[in-house]
Amino acid sequence: MQTDALVGRAREGDKNAQGRLVKLWYKRIYNFNYKFFFDHDLAMEVSQKTFIAMHKNIGGLQEVSRFKSWLYTISVNFCREELRKKKSNKSLSLNDLRPGEGEDSYRWEESGNRGENPDRQLRHTELSDLLQSCLMELSDEQREVVIMKEYEGLKFREIAEALNISENTVKSRMYYGLDGLKRILERRNITKETIGYEL
């Protein structure tokens, strides 16, 4: 509801409302991009591009209720563009060159709430990264749908709008995405029990 009001004001050129929309949706869009690329820098870059595009084009948004799927459409388009660039121009993050171990690793730096239980937090981050790497083995189309549904909590209708495909296609991609993940987890011997032991 808060979003709808902000979108309405932002459409009329309210800079303050646009800024608040950025603060409200930045984390979601960043996490979507991060899970899509499994790369912090790319996720940041695409997120910024997404919100710049939002700022430029929000005046042309027809329906306020479609803001969410519209924003994800922009983000997915930038993701695909970056993916094409990445395929043609192979690059490696400096963090990946020297990942380090334990407290020396960059993941330690990135992990939040370290003061609470640093060791447990690090293991959690490593597990997340492990599962994230499983997600990266899916095809781009399946990964988009799984992230949008499972992590971003979009409805199937909203995903269909964002990707400009039918709901049945979304569900079909979701099914085969989950089936693929099941096989990947089996191959890597990751089960609910092993995760429970790790945590």
Binding site: V22, K27, N31, M44, I52, L131, E150, Y151, L178, D179
Partner: protein, 280 residues
Amino acid sequence: MSYKPDEATLISYLYGELDAKESEKVIQYFQQYPEALKQFHEMANTLNVMRTVEDKEVIAPTIFVGQDTGSPFWQSSYFKMSMSIAASFLLIIAAGKLSGLEVSYSSGELRISFGNKQAIQREIIQPTNLLTQNQVQEMIDASLTTNNSVIAANWTETQKKLDKSIKNSLAVNSQKIDDLMKNTSHASEEQVRGFVSSLQADNLRLMKDYMQLSSKEQKQYVETLLVDFSSYLKEQRNQDLQLFQTRMTSIEKNTVQFKQETEQILASIISSGSKSKNTY
């Protein structure tokens, strides 16, 4: 039960987005196919495992977007692109002009040249003295006349040579015949007699052989002729007999028929006579 939920239905069921009626169908399907239910549970477990991935904390950066005052048209990408294409063409044209580029196509020949056009000296042989038609005709006539006279001279000469050769040949042959006659006249009487007697003996032998051979052939021929004649007579006799028999049979038939007709006529006459008598 032929119902089998498709992927979309299973996913909707997994997220609890299926209506009650459809859900009931899926539950019944799972009850009938425990293997499908097992697979479904495995998928749900996969989902639970994947849900342990946490969101990354991130602070939204301050995004500065400058005032969009509307850039002039010469800063637009379309203008820049069209200008760059035009500049490229201009550059190419200028380079072509400076280098004297010339591209031409005529009568199936593409010519690309640089620099000034150089005249190509071609040697064309001009006819110096042109002959008229009459002159050519005169030349042909003169040539024909000369040719004819040469042929006639050759012919006369060849004829003369031929006559001479025939005369020589005749003279040689007559000389040879005269020599032969002279030799013959010089032959002795005995030689002549011997020659004649040998000729007579040869003739006699030939006549004998001929007569002998001739008598044998005649005998064979006469025998054959007699045999053929006898067979002919026999055949003729048979045919005559058959003819005679046929005639006789015919006469017999006619006689019987005549007899029957006569009887019929008589019977009719008698019957008609009796009828007339009764009427009276």
